[in-house]
Amino acid sequence: MILRGKVWVLGDHINTDVIIPAKYKFRTGDFKELAKHVFEDLDPTLASKISKGDIVVAGRNFGMGSSREHAPRVIKEAGISAIVACSFARIFFRNAINVGLPVIEVKDVNKHFKEGDIAVIDLEKGIVKNETTGVELKFSPYPEFIMNIMRAGGLAVYRKRVQQIS
């Protein structure tokens, strides 16, 4: 599974309240509507600038805070194809896997990307490359069962497929 996209660089400790402010999730359950507010309290213009397939590169502890699964779902709905960060908060990481949003831990990754660079991620080989600068970084690929969830696009689709086979 290879992902290629334009990079947005975010900082450390990006929390779920800036990913999707709580006030919106108490107005609607429509993710197309919620996606218009992704990262709003970080940068109100960011949502309108994201294109399908873009990749987020971030620092430490991405997704800290609330258990709201809206956070990875809204990021995915907004068109982001993967997040590569130095580290992730626990609940966000698990939620992202469940909804089929690739989340990849790579040490110091934020030092190797600038906004607008092109990133190429090979999930099976465990390589993230900055195509703009040529730098290649390695990470531990997902175990096979998580790769299968990613290929299916989330736990729900994966589970249905497994049920159909068995």
């Binding site: 400790h13 108490f26 107005r27 609330s66 258990s67 699964e69 580290s87 736990l155």
Partner: protein
Amino acid sequence: MGETIIQKLFRNRLGRPVKPGEIVVVDIDLAYAHDGTGPLAIDAFNELGSSKVYDPSRIRFVIDHASPSPNEGASNLQLKLRKFAKENNIKVYEVGEGICHQVIPENENLKPGMMIVGADSHTVTLGAFSLFATGIGSTDFAEVMTSGKLWFKVPEAMKVSLTGKLKPGVMSKDLILRIIGDVGADGATYMSVEFQGDGVKTLSMASRMTVCNMVVEMGAKNGIFPLDEITLKHVDASGLKDKSIFKPDENADYAVSLNYKLDELEPVVAAPHNVDNVKPVKELEGLEVNQVFIGSCTNGREEDFEIAARILSKKGVKKGVRCIAIPASRKVFLNLLRNGIIDKLVSAGCTVTHSTCGPCLGVHFGILGSGEVAVSTSNRNFKGRMGNPESSIYLASPATAAASATEGVITDPRKFVEGW
């Protein structure tokens, strides 16, 4: 190598020893979701292709976040929750009954060593009752509704040893903020935070809940207090065979060990916009405050309002400051009503209202204006958390919050408690 408490809890459940990092599947004893996460859990339940709730007697819904509903969108999400609950025979705690992390321990038969999950990050609060409790997302919640089980990675553990006793005007909120300030917002990521030492017995159940509530703010998977006489007043330990599982082995392998002398702690605040930006109150004294919020799952219990009322009854709320006081449950509200605390709070100038999460996460009741400053006893001060990214939130204990409300500026509460 000996075992940490979390290893013992999982061993007790699985009947075999476990190591940190190992993946285990366990039966979930109780799972709860609220109006912020429950509707999405229902969508996820349908996405999973599930049709029947495995065991409704272990599932609860609590309508507490936007409660009562401030708009038609929230109303319809709550209707969805009620309809699913009715169809599947799930118990609902309704509008006004209280905040999930308070209502569940007040009303459910908690047993030490239980495995509880909640579709809310502050589910970790329940670790105060010597059990495993952690926050999960909506798809995981849907999985629990489907199968009654969930997988976990056995966490590494952090030992926090407490000695001594807090001085008057210093609260358990100051302790947990101090710890978060010391280790950082990701200092306990994925860990089980285990509180031990002689100092534990000086902390009430409400104070322990405050401490456990905020372990997630340093990334922890759960927090847990040992089982003692105080715990036994609040849990059903009748079926408990082995009390030793709540005490770690002396040679247990802790990833991190910290020591705190409770009598050396001082009032602190978490300054904007991160919970680990912890400073002594003394450093910020004099900063003007527009709104004070006393309440939330962190600090909305009887002892929190008792100390606030005692401080506020001297001079009342400073003119021009809005002080909002929200008990964490109807039961807390009634207790405070009966012992005269609500009278004192209202007389002092507080706006007291029914139980809701509202102001803590900027849903309703107390959205801040641009440039405004709030002192809040809740758990997060992230940019925009209280509904406006142009405002600033300082997290503090109820004592510091009340002292700040009465002076109109951030104030060290210790000057109000001399002789207590």
